[in-house]
């Protein structure tokens, strides 16, 4: 190193000189082996599945709620008619 070399010049020289640094051979395989051996908590396996099924489940829940509301209205109407008839009979 030249003792009078300016900060920017030295940084640039070292940037260029280290630009071709590469991981050692087999790095990708070592990482994959290590990563895929990671123990996953049960909810970590469920999360990706849940992300896919949640919209369908939400739609089904909304349809079920609508059907229940409609059925309940029909029962109310039927009962109201029955009470009305009873009143007239009485």
């Amino acid at each position: 190193m030249n003792p009078t070399e300016r900060f920017e010049m030295r940084a640039e020289r070292l940037r260029l000189a280290t630009a071709r640094l590469t991981p050692s051979a087999g790095f990708r395989d070592r990482v994959l082996e290590r990563v895929l051996a990671e123990p996953l908590a049960w909810w970590q396996g469920v999360a990706p599945l849940a992300r896919r099924t949640l919209p369908a489940l939400a739609l089904m829940a909304a349809l079920a709620w609508a059907a229940a509301f409609r059925a309940s209205s029909t029962v109310d109407e039927t009962l109201a008619t029955a009470y009305g008839s009873a009143e007239v009979d009485w």
Partner: protein
């Protein structure tokens, strides 16, 4: 160039093997940046591997919200892991001989020499200043981008850069 974002989508849907594409697409840049921060290629590989494990866990558990690009997010994880590694090394220094296993890695002798020179040059700086100098002066990130990667304010980065340059100037004066 493998499609990084598509591979991340597959990993997040539970296909762990697609993580290989993520490693393939990003490992060279990440290892080079980590090596410049920690000053050793073998330490950099450890740092990047640890970063990948954190990333994989976050992807599988749905914690990666994809608000930033995958590459930026991985840079953030690896930068912070590298700073943690430097802090740990400062607490428990490793003998110099133990660092010489870099010769076993694939880079050229010139690159190793340059990396050793960089490590010596920046070795006087605390980990946060060292990371700030590498990100800004070597990797070419703006102060704002470096702040995002290191999880601090832009002002803090500017301050670290000023202090680091002053320390390096003083060191040159005493050399």
């Amino acid at each position: 160039m493998p499609d990084l974002e598509a591979a991340v989508t597959r990993v997040m849907q539970g296909d762990g093997s697609a993580f290989g594409t993520v490693v393939e697409a990003t490992s060279q840049e990440l290892v080079r940046m980590a090596a410049r921060i920690v000053g050793s290629l073998s330490d950099a590989e450890d740092v990047v591997q640890e970063g990948y494990i954190k990333a994989y866990r976050a992807m599988m558990s749905g914690h990666f919200d994809r608000r930033s690009s995958t590459k930026t997010w991985l840079y953030r994880i690896v930068t912070r892991t590298a700073v943690d590694a430097l802090r740990a090394k400062a607490r428990a220094p490793v003998p110099r001989d133990a660092l010489d296993d870099d010769a076993a890695t694939g880079a050229s002798p010139e690159a190793h020499l340059a990396l050793a020179e960089l490590a010596d040059w920046l070795g006087v700086l605390p980990p946060e200043q060292r990371a700030a100098i590498v990100l800004h002066a070597i990797e070419g990130f703006s102060a704002r981008e470096a702040a995002d990667l290191l999880g601090c304010s832009e002002g803090a980065i500017e301050q670290r850069l000023v202090r680091a340059r002053a320390t390096l100037r003083a060191q040159r004066g005493t050399a």
